[in-house]
């Protein structure tokens, strides 16, 4: 019988290993994201600042070549120094691109799955909740690393190669600090994007909320400080929290009366835990009929 002949046959080909299975998600998500015009434009624009910083690194290491710079006063010499403050500024500017990128790319990762009741399909396959979240985080990690970590390491590597081994031996903690700082930042931004994407379901709204999360919380932190004449309000600002942690990692001083790195780290842990809790609560492998 034709029907019998064309019936179901078990798949007998090679199977993806359990650990590598979640890589299927980014394998499909990355090309899709890179196919979006605005993402590509943003990736290109986000490289301008690292290029400018790379130019600055080159200039600071070749000050003697420019007439006048070598004899310049202490202020100019200090300005040209590649130190923790330089990398803190670099990270601060570059992180803005990561927020915008996360606001554009992040909401499309979970919201459509929820809006179309696709989660049961994912979890019906050998993909656990943890591996699903891990896979989605990996998609954003790959994207955000290209605008934060990779350019940062490039600038650091360039300075290390121009500054020589003596500079590297004295300043390797800057590279380490930047690596760790950016990893924390990517984790926070990715979790914010995924959680808001899961929370509101609609990608368009989630995107606006990602922007609002960083900008509005930053503003809210400022007005709490102003209205109550305090400094602890800054702990509500994700950008401030991260910046203070970066400064501590890079050995840059922060205002004495503002919350210190330890307090900011505690606030960050609470924030990450809250985001993760909301994400886990929202990602349930059941179909919601509305």
């Amino acid at each position: 019988m034709a029907v019998f002949k064309r019936g179901y046959e078990r798949y007998t080909g090679p199977r993806t290993g359990a650990l590598a299975r979640f890589l299927v998600v980014p394998r499909f998500a990355w090309p899709k994201l890179l196919g979006e015009r605005f993402v590509v434009v943003l990736l290109i624009v986000s490289l301008f600042w690292p290029l400018l910083c790379a130019g600055f690194v080159y200039l600071s290491n070749h000050a003697s070549l420019l007439p006048g710079l070598a004899e310049a006063g202490d202020a100019v010499q200090k300005l040209l120094r590649i130190d923790g403050a330089f990398f803190a500024t670099f990270m601060n500017v570059q992180s803005t691109f990561a927020i915008i990128l996360a606001a554009i790319a992040g909401p499309g990762l979970i919201a459509p799955d929820l809006a179309n009741n696709a989660l049961p399909l994912y979890f019906a396959r050998p993909l656990s909740l943890a591996s699903y979240i891990g896979a989605r985080l990996l998609v954003l990690f790959g994207l955000l690393a290209t605008v934060t970590l990779l350019p940062g390491l490039f600038v650091f590597g360039m300075q290390a190669s121009l500054g020589g081994s003596a500079w590297l031996a004295a300043h390797w903690t800057l590279g380490q600090g930047m690596l760790l700082g950016f990893l924390l930042y990517i984790l926070l931004v990715s979790l914010v994007a995924l959680t808001l994407s899961a929370y509101v379901k609609w990608r368009v709204v989630a995107g606006a909320l990602v922007l609002g999360f960083f900008f509005v919380l930053g503003g809210a932190a400022q007005i709490i400080n102003q209205v109550f004449r305090v400094e602890w309000g800054s702990l509500l600002s994700p950008s401030y929290i991260l910046y203070t942690i970066w400064c501590a990692l890079l050995g840059v001083e922060t205002p004495a009366d503002a919350p210190d790195a330890g307090e900011c780290l505690a606030a960050l842990v609470v924030l990450l835990a809250a985001l993760l809790a909301i994400l886990l609560r929202k990602l349930r492998p059941v179909e919601v009929v509305s």
Binding site: F38, I100, A103, I104, W202, V204, V205, G207, A208, V210, L211, G212, F215, V216, G219, A220, Q222, I223, I224, Q226, V227, F228, R229, E253, A256, D257, D260
Partner: protein, 346 residues
């Protein structure tokens, strides 16, 4: 006109009472909640500091930078609070005094007086400037901006997402009328929520002032200031609302117009005069009765961005903003005429 009102009435309930509007209320009422909190804190402080020993201001003023903490303690006596902590190589110490009017913090680094920080227990003038800052930097730039983003994008783009926009298109209504009706609904909701929020926070600000300050203010500027803040909030809703309504009609992704708008409003101070007139914030800042203070510790770039662009007079700001709004609404109606129902890409 009748149809516009019918559409607005049908829409308005959704704008006010949907679950999606909850965060808009949060944004609008946040400053009011803060000022109410401040009112409670001022009442508490007044009671608390009434019982504290006052150190004469003359003694505290006489302590020059570099004074050791021991000398300061000897001169000023025991502080209200003594806090010590270490950050890096620096040993910090903060001695907290009260001079009968100001709270004073003597900040020491490695045992030497670095700065003297003085905060009046309560200052009406400072409070009104802080309110102006909160209103301009938070309320106009962020709360109304993102609130209107939510309310006005929901009018068309939200219906696209819900796959229900075709019901409006199947009514015997010109698309222009539909746009205006929906805009009116959004504007009424936003104006009530954010105008109300502005007035509520203004009232909260006045609630904890001393009776002398309050009486003087009520007899002079209070009513005018309150009305200007209300007007600025409502016009902010009108201006941002028209832009986001148009964006919702033209573009699928609101993040892009939101970003562009944020950027546009931020760099407005750097633009040529003609382009400055195309910014909503340009007009709104001109309407605010009290100039917002700029944080002196803010980086130069931030100060440039936050500083208002060549201010227009209040009476040119009003028609200017209305003209910008009308222009954007006209473009929105043109876009609505071309709009097709295509839910596939949402």
């Amino acid at each position: 006109m009748n149809q516009i009102w019918i559409i607005a009435r049908l829409e308005i309930r959704r704008a006010f009472f949907s679950r999606r509007a909850l965060w808009v209320y949060l944004l609008a009422l946040f400053p009011a909640a803060l000022f109410l909190g401040r009112a409670a804190s001022v009442h508490y402080d007044r009671r608390e500091y009434a019982a504290k020993p006052a150190t004469p201001a003359a003694i505290l003023d006489r302590l020059p930078a570099g004074t050791t903490d021991k000398d300061a303690l000897a001169a000023a006596g025991p502080p209200i609070r003594d806090r010590q902590w270490r950050r890096g190589e620096v040993e910090h110490r903060s001695l907290h005094y009260f001079d009968g009017y100001n709270r004073v913090w003597l900040q020491f680094e490695n045992g030497a007086l670095k700065t003297t920080r003085r905060l009046p227990l309560h200052s009406f003038e400072q409070d009104t400037r802080i309110y102006a800052g909160v209103f301009q930097y938070f309320y106009l730039r962020l709360a109304i901006f993102f609130g209107c983003l939510g309310i006005f994008l929901n009018l068309f783009r939200g219906e696209m997402i819900d796959k229900s926009l075709h019901y409006w298109f199947l009514a015997p209504v010109r698309r222009e009328t539909l746009v205006l009706g929906k805009y009116c609904a959004g504007l009424i909701a936003a104006a009530v929520i954010f105008g109300g929020g502005a007035l509520l926070s203004f009232a909260a600000l006045l609630s904890y002032q001393t009776s002398a300050d309050l009486e003087t203010y009520l007899q002079t500027d209070a009513l005018a200031h309150g009305l200007w803040y209300l007007l600025a909030a409502v016009l902010g809703c009108a201006g941002y609302g028209s832009v986001f309504l148009a964006a919702g009609l033209v573009l699928r992704n609101p993040i892009i117009p939101a970003l562009v708008m944020l950027l546009w409003e931020s760099i407005n101070g750097f633009l040529p005069e003609l382009l400055q007139k195309l910014s909503v914030l340009h007009y709104l800042q001109s309407l605010c009765p009290v100039p917002a203070p700029l944080d002196p510790s803010a980086p130069p770039l931030a100060r440039m961005i936050l500083s208002p662009a060549a201010p227009a007079s209040a009476w040119t700001a009003l028609p200017g903003l209305l003209a910008v709004t009308a222009l954007v609404l006209y473009l929105a109606t043109r876009a609505a005429r071309r709009l097709e129902i295509n839910y596939g890409g949402e």
